[in-house]
């Protein structure tokens, strides 16, 4: 009975992750959650028939995020950049924390500094000359930011050995940890595209199909519990 209950708990965890994915189907740069399942310990059957073992059900672990490329949405906004391939933009929060983000929805703040919607600033800082219009900015695939042919700086594209080890700070920001490895430059194959944003990589159809599968598995585990309960009832009825 407990093995079936463990199965239900594992499916519940998966449903929670899927709900989160579906809720973020329109979040720029969102990556779907990867849930992994495994079976649990096998112990010898307690009636000690030789070689018969009983499993303890299943368990779910979140192994990180899916890294499939999200669909690119063309916006034609000069301050929107989408990242092609693995990698993150380097930014600094107002409190000084260095963050990594794939959200390329950039802004120019009151002091002319390039940053995100939430006030995080691009690292190293890129400052527009006074009076310059952000509409004239050109961002090259390798991250070089130019204004009328003059280079202002370069958007750094970085990555880590294990993006799954990054700690999510909310607002699309991630922080490097010991589990993710140190921040290093992204491979040269990763490029930026100006005038586009990377959509969420959640595929609604896939998410729905997975949700149905999770629900069926949940239901079947609950049937197993009912059957075990019925068996216990039958056993109890031996003594009337």
């Amino acid at each position: 009975m407990y093995s079936a209950a463990a199965g239900m708990a594992a499916q519940q965890q998966r449903l929670d992750a899927l709900s989160n994915d579906v809720a973020n189907v329109n979040t720029t740069g969102y990556k779907r959650v990867r849930v992994a399942f495994r079976d649990l310990l096998y112990t010898p059957e307690r009636l000690a028939t030789q070689g018969i073992t009983e499993g303890a059900g299943s368990a779910a672990t979140i192994v990180g995020r899916g890294h499939a490329q999200g669909s690119l949405q063309r916006t034609e906004e000069p301050l929107d950049v989408a990242i092609h391939g693995p990698g993150f933009l380097r930014m600094r929060r107002a409190d000084g924390t260095e963050i990594l983000t794939r959200d390329g929805n950039l802004r120019v703040d009151a002091q002319g500094r390039l940053g995100s919607e939430r006030g995080d600033l691009v690292q190293p800082e890129i400052r527009l000359p006074e009076g310059a219009s952000p509409a004239d900015l050109k961002i090259a695939p390798d991250g070089r930011v130019t204004l009328a042919g003059r280079e202002l700086g370069r958007l750094q594209i970085v990555t880590v050995a294990s993006p799954d080890g990054l700690r999510a700070l909310g607002d699309n920001g991630f922080e490097a940890t010991a589990a993710s490895g140190a921040v290093r430059a992204a491979p040269a194959t990763t490029t930026l595209e100006q005038g586009a944003l990377e959509g969420s990589n959640v595929d609604m159809g896939d998410a729905m199909a997975e949700m149905m599968e999770a629900q069926r598995a949940y239901e079947m585990a609950s049937r197993a519990i009912q059957a075990q309960d019925r068996a216990a009832e039958i056993a109890n009825a031996i003594k009337r």
Binding site: R14, T49, S180, Q228, R230
Partner: protein, 227 residues
């Protein structure tokens, strides 16, 4: 007469054990690379029943049943496309090898991730072994070369939990690694549910036999009652 009680009870115990296995299969109906258990019921040794008033044999009678053998059904399940670069599946025969604290273990569950040192790890953080027996290094873009991942032939495969199997390595297997796909669970939900229902009914029948024998014994005992 008493013997019948034990025959029925042994049947019920065997069904209970099978029911536990079926529950475990259903709990793993969505676990990638899971292989279900099959069980065989076998009679205990048959007894020669003799006529109590003479030495004439009247035939044999089974002394009950038990689960005799358990086998894991290792047949491959269909692969499912996931498009995640670190989801790997063995297309054909063979197992992935992972280096655990307890030694090398084998698995068909290819939901892998990237380790902090740039190697391929399983969901518990164990390193996945390459063709040469060393950890698999990821490409700079975070993907993995399917040809570098080892597929091992294993003899005497036994399930140990955590999606892992033990066994004796028997060289390279013929299966090919495919990235972006996972092997499904080999649990056939409909078949398992039907077996569970049949098993439950058989359990119930065992209980009925038990109570019937108990009734009969009660009546026999009642014959000698003094009123």
């Amino acid at each position: 007469m008493n013997r019948g009680l034990y025959v029925a009870a042994s049947g019920m115990l065997a069904m209970q054990a099978r029911q536990d296995q079926l529950s475990n299969d259903l709990a793993n109906a969505a676990t990638p690379g899971y292989k279900p258990d099959r069980a065989a019921h076998r009679p205990f040794g048959a007894l020669l029943v003799e006529n109590v008033t003479g030495t004439q044999g009247v035939g044999t009678m089974a002394a009950g049943v038990r689960l005799e053998a358990q086998a894991t059904d290792l047949r491959a399940a269909p692969l499912r496309q996931t498009d995640e670069p670190l989801d790997l599946a063995v297309d054909g025969d063979g197992y992935f090898g992972v280096q655990t604290d307890a030694g090398v273990r084998y698995t068909r569950n290819g939901r892998f991730a990237a380790g902090a040192d740039g190697t391929l790890v399983d969901q518990l953080g164990n390193r996945v072994l390459g063709r040469d027996g060393n950890p698999v290094r990821l490409r700079p873009d975070g993907t993995v070369d399917p040809a570098a991942v080892g597929v091992f032939a294993v003899d005497g495969v036994t399930k140990v939990g955590d999606s892992q199997f033990t066994g004796n390595a028997a060289g390279q297997a013929t299966g090919r690694v495919r990235a972006g796909a996972l092997e499904g669970s080999a649990v056939d939900a409909a078949r398992t549910m039907v077996e569970m229902m049949a098993n439950l009914r058989a359990y119930e029948a065992g209980q009925k036999a038990l109570t019937t024998i108990d009734d009969t014994l009660g009546r026999a005992a009642g014959l000698g009652a003094i009123r």
